[in-house]
């Protein structure tokens, strides 16, 4: 009993440590003070000014850019990665090993190396950097995760179900759409979510590929802001909203998965 108490207490202690900085931000999102750490009374003004939009045009456009880049990169990676996974799955073992190895490179590489290498690619070929290069860079480091999420579904799949569909009169295309696609869909969805969050979070690769034509994502905006000395107060409610959304989303997904398992 004591053992269990200490075990639980340790977990909660670590969680408190992990969450205390985020909690500070959340608490101070409800006050107006420009400098974080000063409590000047409860207020939701930062929230309303975040949503009224008008005052920080550059922040709003950074948020907008971040989401469009993430949606584009996640969608393209999911399509590219899923098709690639089916291809890799059907390859002979040696070619498959080469593909798997290459696919793992962006995962194993630190972000900064991916960033530097893509920067060198774009400058060497004289490609001007901006929105397109960021999306391409994000696809490059997101697709491997999609391949890795789809592959287990293919491996788990009974290899005969494709043949069974053909046997029952489906054309190869129908068999793919009606049998293979539903089978790998869960892998594609988790691959998409993973790609989306990776893209939103990315800072290191983005900063090397975004160029200097004034394009900003949330990460580069925060970075520029922080270097200027402080955090724009509106980032506090924004972080709070993002954090709470992600928290609720992940807990709901996991609760559902747990329930499904029990059934």
């Amino acid at each position: 009993m004591m053992k269990k108490f200490f075990a639980k207490a340790y977990l909660w202690f670590l969680l408190a440590l992990l969450y205390s900085p985020i909690l500070i931000i959340m608490i101070f999102s409800f006050t107006e003070a420009k400098v974080l750490g000063n409590w000047t009374g409860f207020s939701t003004k930062l929230y309303s000014s975040l949503f009224s939009g008008g005052m920080h045009h550059s922040l709003m456009s950074a948020i907008w850019n971040t989401f469009t880049i993430a949606i584009l990169a996640a969608t393209i990676s999911t399509a590219l990665g899923s098709i690639a996974a089916i291809g890799i799955f059907n390859m002979r073992s040696r070619a498959r090993a080469v593909m798997n190895f290459t696919n793992n490179i962006p995962i194993m590489n630190p972000d900064i190396i991916t960033g530097v290498s893509l920067f060198l690619l774009f400058v060497s070929f004289g490609i001007s950097q901006g929105f397109t290069t960021v999306v391409l860079a994000h696809i490059a480091f997101c697709t491997p995760y999609v391949v890795l999420s789809v592959m287990p579904r293919l491996k788990k799949m009974n290899p005969n179900i494709y043949e069974a569909a053909l046997d029952l009169g489906a054309t190869p295309f129908q068999a793919l759409r009606k049998v293979i696609l539903p089978e790998i869909l869960p892998g594609m969805i988790s691959g998409f979510i993973l790609a989306f969050t990776l893209s939103i979070d990315d800072f290191a690769v983005t900063i090397f590929t975004i160029g200097n034509e004034g394009l900003e994502t949330l990460s580069t905006y925060i970075y520029a802001d922080a270097r200027k000395g402080g955090l724009t107060p509106e980032l506090r409610p924004l972080s709070t909203i993002i954090f709470v959304t992600v928290l609720v989303l992940l807990i709901v997904i996991n609760k559902r998965a747990e329930k499904q398992k029990k059934e």
Binding site: G87, F101, T102, S117, L250
Partner: protein
């Protein structure tokens, strides 16, 4: 019918956006601005005490961060994996969740916490920030291996007369070794390669190797920057020799969902 050709577009994509860029790092590292072969970039690194010191200092910080993460993370992973202490997957999610928050926001939050508690920013804040940022990377792989471990192995050890300490030393620890190894790699690698984080945590007083790379690239010293990147890549390559491909792949792909 030849569905293996479906990977062709991605193969071409990988070639252009992964393989060629990495080769470009090598190419730039061994050439000067005119494009002629040179070892000068590496000589510059070895002769330049500042870059060298930053390099060694970064490795030191990474080692300390890794050790702290292991010491804090292993017990947490163990407790999370044991049914007697924890049956809820949500608890695991809570530990991994901070990974989903933008690293800059997390770092700025740490700065805010230190400000709030009126603690000085510096080396202490740097290590706290690094541990805070990368602790989930240690907990998750260890948790994964411990959780997959066959519980009857522990019972078998007890049955054969091992006391709890022996059970841990002789059974649990060796069996969780793969998780520990990938945890170490997954904490060490990002710690040694981050940039911008250290500056924010130390009011620009401490610079890590990642920042040196970034600054050089930013200031147009592409060849020198590429050489420094290559050195970092070698360091990480040596690190990842200790883990095998499969372990890291399965841990990374695991995610939460």
């Amino acid at each position: 019918m030849r569905r293996r050709n479906w990977s062709l577009p991605y193969a071409i994509f990988l070639l252009i956006f992964v393989v060629i860029p990495l080769l470009l790092i090598v190419l730039y590292a061994f050439t000067d601005e005119e494009g002629a072969f040179t070892m000068g970039n590496f000589r510059k690194f070895l002769m330049h005490p500042e870059a060298m010191n930053t390099f060694i200092y970064s490795i030191g910080i990474a080692i300390i961060t890794t050790i702290v993460c292991l010491v804090l993370g292993y017990p947490a992973a163990y407790i999370l994996s044991q049914k007697q202490f924890n049956t809820s997957k949500t608890m695991v999610v809570l530990f991994i969740l901070p990974m989903w928050v933008n690293i800059l926001i997390r770092t700025l939050a740490t700065v805010a916490l230190f400000d709030f508690l009126q603690l000085p920013l510096g080396e202490g804040a740097l290590i706290f920030g690094m541990v805070y940022n990368f602790l989930p990377f240690m907990i998750y792989p260890i948790y994964n291996t411990l959780q997959k471990m066959d519980q009857s192995l522990i019972e078998a050890a007890q049955d054969l007369g091992a006391n709890p300490l022996k059970v841990f030393n002789k059974v649990i620890l060796p069996l969780s070794a793969p998780g520990i190894v990938s945890g170490i790699v997954m904490v060490f690698m990002p710690t040694v390669s981050t940039f911008a984080i250290a500056e924010l945590l130390t009011m620009n007083n401490i610079k890590l190797f990642g920042t040196t790379v970034q600054e050089n690239i930013y200031n147009g010293m592409w060849n020198y920057g590429a050489a420094l990147s290559l050195i970092m890549l070698l360091l990480i390559g040596i690190m990842s020799l200790f883990t095998n491909e499969e372990d890291s792949a399965q841990n990374e792909s695991g995610g939460v969902i």
